[in-house]
Subunit: 370 residues, 2 copies
Amino acid sequence: MVVRLEILKEDTRTRARIGKLYTPHGIIDTPVFMPVGTQATVKTMTPEELKDLGAQIILSNTYHLYLRPGHELIAEAGGLHTFMNWDRAILTDSGGFQVFSLGALRKIREEGVEFRSHIDGSCQFLSPEIATQVQIALGADIIMAFDECAPYPCTHEYAGNSLERTTRWTKRCLEALGTNEKQALFGIVQGGIYQDLRIQSAEQIVGLDLPGYAIGGLSVGEPKELMYEVLDYTVLHLPKQKPRYLMGVGSPDALIEGVMRGIDMFDCVLPTRIARNGTALTRYGKVVVRNAESARNFSPLDPTCACYACRNYSRAYIRHLLKADEILGLRLMSIHNLHFLQTMMREIREAIREERLPEYRRAFFADYGY
Amino acid sequence: MVVRLEILKEDTRTRARIGKLYTPHGIIDTPVFMPVGTQATVKTMTPEELKDLGAQIILSNTYHLYLRPGHELIAEAGGLHTFMNWDRAILTDSGGFQVFSLGALRKIREEGVEFRSHIDGSCQFLSPEIATQVQIALGADIIMAFDECAPYPCTHEYAGNSLERTTRWTKRCLEALGTNEKQALFGIVQGGIYQDLRIQSAEQIVGLDLPGYAIGGLSVGEPKELMYEVLDYTVLHLPKQKPRYLMGVGSPDALIEGVMRGIDMFDCVLPTRIARNGTALTRYGKVVVRNAESARNFSPLDPTCACYACRNYSRAYIRHLLKADEILGLRLMSIHNLHFLQTMMREIREAIREERLPEYRRAFFADYGY
């Protein structure tokens, strides 16, 4: 297998496990949070800065790169790794989620999805075959099946049709991929918030014997408790020995809850997006750095944090940079938030190793004020 | 003297010289180009990145920091060096140039200048005393006299009144500074493009026996040949043993011409500003990276350049980042352009040392297409 999971330890009291995910661009410690580099760059960051934080894999987006600069150009450059100067693992999503998010600007047919580009309004088309070809050109280690992500809320019938189409599309992706010894195709389980549909979807997708499985269509507006419920019963229908990826999740609380339910991989724009809006993640909850109370706070964002921003700059300075629209402010905030999540995932892995994950969760939630 | 220049070698064929400028925060090789950190940050850059380029001194702005976050706050933080985490030398300008640039939004009186903040429109006031107090609070190694910068073009009478006021104001700055063993006050020679007035101003300012002298009111719209002419006769009236600083100049050609006329220090927002607009400075002229011809150029911005951007990224990738409004694009362009000027100044110093500055100039202009 191009990509495979070695499970090092399973928790005795939860479904959590730690493992090593083998990819053509390195071995990844799981559970892992993947920073998002939508447009072939994790916003504000260099690859060296990502490595300093301990990032082992990043995510990039088929939808965005297909439209700009185009996958042929990236292939000419030698693939996405070379283009963006990142020699560790990359996962690309299929563009499915992005085109469905376009709402009125897209039309779904069995063949694929017609949509209008958010950049120039031009007519565009993505299908399982095209999404796969694009991802082959990009050369990511892990590529995602082109799926139909049902919205929340939606009817049982809608979610049922979506998951059936997702299965048909996943088969077409698999066919389009052919024999490929450098890239692993992960399937995506859909089915909305309906237990019968999630199980049906999981059985169909797992039936395709893929190297990994994602749970899609969550964190799209439903209450978190509902998401955890869906995870509870869906994970039971995914094979233990394959990696499990919960798409679009990255809040600290949901990372812990996801790990406890057996998830190995996560991604989310949250840490970098709220960073640029001026919100820092800390062990003691979120800090809105733009607020007036930070103006004369000459301590770091988080005195317990060892990131570059906290080692060298005060909250007052970072607030000044944000108020003055200075890019260094966005950089320091992004470094801090990504460092926070990378550190948290490392702590979670240690807690699993040392059989104290529930205790870690309790202490974390008490500090974080959740 | 808090700040003093040691001249290591004078060129035999031009007025160029190389030296060491001693400051409380390190020794600076001259001639030097100072990157501009208007708002307590050189746009997009960390201090470590500036040091990697070889930057030994940066410039920051009284006008901007007075308005935001305020000099008292920076003093509370331990001064500008601590606030922005820069342990090498800093020069602050007085705010004179900025308030005069406000045009209709300011009113000049003998006491000082009333102006409206560009941030919130509030009424503000700067005077020689206030500008000096602000710069004392910021704690820069070199602080600038509060001057009146005459526009181009302007009448002989206007330029004459401006320079006389600048002399009176410089005396008030000197008084406001008192005995200060950590900061050196540089005076500014004005006088527009009038030889008699420049000489008059130089004699008055030099009469105050300051540790360094700047030439102000140039690069404000006049033809470059006119600027060089002004330098030719003005420098003759500045003492050899003191540093000479040409304010607001930073185009590659003007740096060489300035050095040949005896200038030791330069500053300009040009390299970082055009970087953010997508223009790279290279040995072979300017490159507009946003242009379509860069789309599939998989070579570095400049194949002869050793900067971080050129060592690791293609022009095509940087163009993609710029088109996609990605901050990493602005970072890479800024690093490249500052590296270009720092490298050029090092080459200029070597050329002076080796008695081949005119030859260096000729070769540079031939390559650069000037």
